[in-house]
Subunit: 331 residues, 2 copies
DNA sequence: CTGAAAGCGCTTACAG
DNA sequence: CTGAAAGCGCTTACAG
C-alpha cells in the first residue's frame, strides 16, 4: 500500500480510502491510485482489513447436506447475492448431525464472520441461542422462537396442508406421510399433515412413518409398505429425496405411479422437475428466500439491536405426473 | 490471548504454541491453556494469524457451474478433505464464463489463500499461467500443459474411447457425439470420439453436434436430430446434463431409449444413477480425485519449487439401461 | 518454558 | 486532502 501511494503520488491514507470505495475522493486521484495498484499488481489484504476494521466482510454459511439439490440451489443463490453486496461466503458443511455442525461453526467463527447463515440446521434451540449471542445469526428453513437469531423459512405446515388438500381433492383418503425426523421443517410438515387430515375428516387414515431427509429413508419406508397387506393410495414424502427413494422402490416392485399410488414430495428441487421423475412437490422459492436472507443479514448488521425477525414465505404446490386420482377398484 | 495466558498462568507465547498444536508443550500446561480458553470463550483470530504467519490456512475453490451435480459432489469431497488437514475452503462461483471466473478469482485472492483450486475452469492458458505464478494453483478436470499450474483430471480421451467401444460392441455404427464446447475436458472427449470411430472403421459415421455442459444444449441437439430424416442409433453426450436434455426431448417425442436410440453420458453423476434415468455413463472417481487434489496442494505448499505435476486418473464405464443393441430393422 | 520486542498490512482518528 | 501515530490480534525470533 505504501508502494502504491508512492507510485500514485498520494498518501497512504488516500489509498485506503479509494480501496474502501469512500466517496470524498477526487476522480483524478482515484484513477491514479487504481492505475498504480494495477501496475504494481497490488491487491488489498483481506486479513489485514479485517483485523484493523473489525469487519471481515465474510459471511459464514453452514449447509447441512449438500447432497440435497435444494440446498445446493440455495447455496448458489446466497453466494450470488452475497457477492453483489461485497461479501464473500466461507463454507461449512455438515450432514444433519448436530456434533459435526457445531464443530463446523466453531472453526468458521475463527474467521470472525460478520454474520452466520445456518441452512437446514439441526442444532437444538439452546445451542443456536448461544451462537446467536456471539454473532448475528440467521437460520434458514426453520423458525426458531428465540430473540437471538433471525429466521426465514417457508410455511411448512401450510405446504403440508396444500399437499393433503390436493390429494384429498383427487379422491384419496388413505394418505400416508413419510416424515423427515429431526430435520429442519420436518416437524411442522408432520403437524400440518395431521391437522389437515383431521380437518378433512380423514383422521382415521392418519399414518406417519419415521424417516429423515434422505433417499435411503424413502426407500426403507417403501419397502416396509410393500410388506403390508394393502398399500395406501397416496404417499406424502417429507422432501423430494424421500419421494425419490419411494419412487425407485415402487418402480422396482412394479407399483405404478400414479395409477397404483400417488407420490408427492417437498422442495420442488431440480430432481422433481426432471421429466423422467415428474414429481408433484411443494415449491420453496429458493432465489427469493436467499435474497431475503442476505437482506436480513445486512439489516441486522446495520441495526444489531433491532428486534427478532422471522420471515415466513408462502409455499406453492407444483402439480406434476406423480399424483393422480386413485383407482376406483381399490377403494 | 493475553487474558487466556493470565487465566492459565502461562505466557502469551505458550498460548500461541498450544493453539498452533506445537509438540514441545507439556500436557499439564496444554490442558490448562485449553481449559482457560474454554472458560473465557476464547477463539483464535484467523485474520490475525494469517497476517502474522503469512499463512491463511485457507484454500480458494472456484467452481464453475454448481448446477452440475458432478461438481457439487467434488466440492463436498474437497471440503471434507481440506477440513481433515486443517484448511478451510472459501468459495468462488462462476458459470463457465471466463470473465466472471476471473473476477471471482481476483476477489478470492484478497484473502491470500495458501492455494487455489479451479474446478472446471474455462480460462485460457495464459490467464491460468498468470495466476499460477502468484499462488499455488491446481486445475481440476483439465490438463493444462504449463509449468506454473498443477493438474488433475481423468483421461477424457480414454473415457470417450470406452463409450465408442461399448456402443460399437453392441452393434452401433451411426454414433453421434454432442460435444461440450469450450468446457473443461470437452476437447479431449471430442478427439477421443473421433479417433476411436476412425480406428474402428466408422470414420464415415463421425458426426459431432456443438453443445456445452448444460441440459439445454442436449435438448437443442435432440430437437435438431428429430428434424433429420434418420436418427443415429446412438448418442454420446459430452456429459450427463447434456444426456439428460437429450433423454427428455426423446421421451417427449416418443423416441424409445435404448430401443430406438442408445444414449450415453459422462461423469456418472447422481442423476445418471437415478433408477428413473439409468444412464450409461463414464465414471469419474470424485472422491479419489478430490483426495488427490488436496494431497497435491499440500505437496506443492511443502515444496513450491517442485516440478510440474499432472495426475491423470483412469475412467471407468458404468453400463446402465440407456444403452442397448440397435434395432436390426433400422440398419 | 518465559518475557519483551518487532512486525504482519491494514484502518482509524486527528492535527494541519 | 496529507502525514504521523496508534492499534487490531496474532507469530516469530531471541535472550534468558
Amino acid at each position: 500500500m505504501e508502494d502504491v501511494a508512492r507510485e500514485a503520488g498520494v498518501s497512504r491514507a488516500l489509498v485506503s480510502l479509494v480501496f474502501r470505495g469512500q466517496p470524498h475522493v477526487s476522480e483524478r486521484r482515484r484513477t491514479a491510485v487504481l492505475e498504480a495498484a494495477d501496475r504494481l499488481g497490488y491487491r488489498l489484504n483481506a486479513a489485514a482489513s479485517s483485523l484493523a476494521s473489525r469487519q471481515s466482510r465474510i459471511i459464514g454459511l453452514v449447509v447441512n447436506d449438500l447432497s440435497n439439490p435444494y440446498l445446493v440451489a440455495g447455496t448458489e443463490a446466497l453466494q450470488e447475492r452475497a457477492e453483489s453486496v461485497g461479501r464473500r461466503l466461507i463454507l461449512g458443511l455438515a450432514k444433519r448431525d448436530a456434533e459435526h455442525e457445531q464443530a463446523a461453526i466453531e472453526t468458521l467463527l475463527q474467521h470472525r464472520p460478520d454474520a452466520l447463515i445456518l441452512a437446514g440446521t439441526v442444532l437444538p434451540k439452546a445451542v443456536l441461542t448461544r451462537f446467536g449471542r456471539q454473532v448475528p445469526t440467521l437460520v434458514m428453513g426453520r423458525i426458531v422462537r428465540d430473540a437471538s437469531v433471525d429466521c426465514i423459512a417457508i410455511d411448512d405446515a401450510r405446504g403440508a396442508e396444500l399437499v393433503v388438500e390436493h390429494l384429498a381433492g383427487l379422491g384419496h383418503s388413505r394418505i400416508l406421510h413419510v416424515d423427515g425426523g429431526g430435520g429442519a421443517g420436518a416437524a411442522p410438515r408432520r403437524t400440518g399433515y395431521r391437522k389437515t387430515m383431521t380437518r378433512l375428516g380423514l383422521a382415521e387414515h392418519i399414518d406417519v412413518m419415521a424417516g429423515d431427509f434422505t433417499e435411503q429413508a424413502g426407500a426403507n419406508a417403501a419397502r416396509q409398505l410393500l410388506d403390508r397387506d394393502v398399500l395406501p393410495t397416496a404417499v406424502f414424502a417429507a422432501d423430494d429425496l424421500v419421494a425419490l427413494g419411494v419412487l425407485d422402490v415402487f418402480r422396482g416392485a412394479g407399483v405404478a405411479v400414479p395409477e397404483d399410488v400417488s407420490v408427492v414430495g417437498f422442495d420442488d428441487s431440480t430432481i422433481a422437475r426432471l421429466q423422467a421423475i415428474s414429481l408433484t412437490s411443494v415449491s420453496q422459492p429458493v432465489l427469493h428466500m436467499s435474497s431475503l436472507a442476505i437482506d436480513a443479514v445486512l439489516a441486522r448488521l446495520e441495526d444489531p439491536t433491532a428486534g427478532y425477525r422471522a420471515v415466513v414465505v408462502p409455499p406453492q404446490l407444483v402439480i406434476r405426473g406423480s399424483s393422480g386420482t386413485p383407482r376406483p377398484a381399490t377403494a
